[in-house]
């Protein structure tokens, strides 16, 4: 069993994800280069944070057309677990694996700080070790994390229990305080906070450990 970590030109959290999974949790990982269309038999895929293709055009817009993500789309459509963190969440919305879009923070600043969140695990397969309404703290680090969708879409997401992570004190202007979303089937999760940076007590807090540990069921 191993977890694939997608690497784009401009990814900068790929090694953090590897450290969290291998160094902190003892799970095996494989890097998946953006030009490869072979997922090398991995059992789960993480699209890490960073600035894929320099975030040219829009965050995630170019990445969406990379060969590796065509394979990831197929993997997700067949129920494969896919986790998008930060830039990875932006990529998932551009791929239309998750609805809505991530836009410039309301007050324009890049925000890098520990952020309190409320978890509502719903059907999301990675969050089943968290209790409904549980408060956790994960770091955020983004300039474009303001989730946007129209009000009927938001109502539908909330009705389906797909808003699995909310900001306790909304830092960026996201509608519905959305910090993380799952798809209807629960196998795709996108979130702006960084669970991989909350796995090692040395870096302050381990609230992300259970999420990362759940990648391989």
């Amino acid at each position: 069993m191993s977890v694939g970590v997608v690497v784009f030109p401009g990814s900068n959290c790929d090694r953090d994800v590897r450290w969290a999974l291998e160094g902190c949790l003892g799970l095996s990982t494989r890097f998946l280069w953006h030009e490869d269309s072979d997922l090398k038999g991995v059992d789960a895929v993480v699209i890490p944070g960073g600035f894929s293709y320099g975030d040219y055009l829009r965050c995630g817009a170019i990445a969406r057309f990379s060969p590796v993500l065509q394979a990831v789309k197929d993997f997700a459509d067949h129920g494969g677990p896919v986790l998008g963190i930060c830039n990875g969440f932006q990529v998932l919305t551009e791929m239309e694996l998750l609805p809505g879009a991530l836009t410039r923070n309301a007050r324009l600043h890049f925000i890098c700080e520990p952020t309190p969140l409320e978890v509502q695990p719903g059907q999301c397969r990675w969050l089943q070790t968290y209790t409904a309404g549980e408060s956790i703290v994960l770091p955020i680090a983004h300039g474009e994390g303001r989730f946007q969708c129209d009000s009927s879409q938001l109502e539908e997401l909330e009705g389906n229990g797909q808003v699995v992570l909310r900001y306790a004190a909304n830092p960026n202007g996201s509608v519905g305080d959305v910090a993380g979303l799952t798809n209807a089937a629960g196998n795709v999760l996108g979130l702006m906070p960084h669970p991989e940076r909350a796995c090692d007590p040395a870096t302050g807090g381990i609230d992300g450990r259970r999420l990362m540990a759940s990648l391989l069921g």
């Binding site: 055009l57 817009a61 057309f65 609805p99 809505g100 879009a101 923070n105 309301a106 946007q148």
Partner: protein, 75 residues
């Protein structure tokens, strides 16, 4: 939809002494040259491009202007 960069620019315009700006939104313009057998094909190609890559219809509106260049190719 909130355009924070547009709002910040509007505030700066007031500080410059240009008053009365009711609305200021910032977007982007993309110029490209395309070789196509005819205008209808070019139009169809550019619409597909605008809707699927250049803009994200979830958060952006787009318009398209098509002009023909010399030599019969559309630009």
């Amino acid at each position: 939809m909130l355009d924070p960069a547009g709002e910040a620019t509007r505030a700066a315009a007031a500080r410059l002494g240009v008053d009365g700006i009711q609305k200021l939104r910032i977007g982007k313009a993309i110029e490209l040259e395309l070789v196509a057998p005819d205008r209808a094909t070019a139009q169809a190609q550019l619409e597909r491009l605008s809707d699927r890559l250049l803009a994200n219809p979830v958060i952006e509106n787009w318009t398209l202007e098509l002009a023909e260049a010399t030599g019969g190719s559309a630009a």
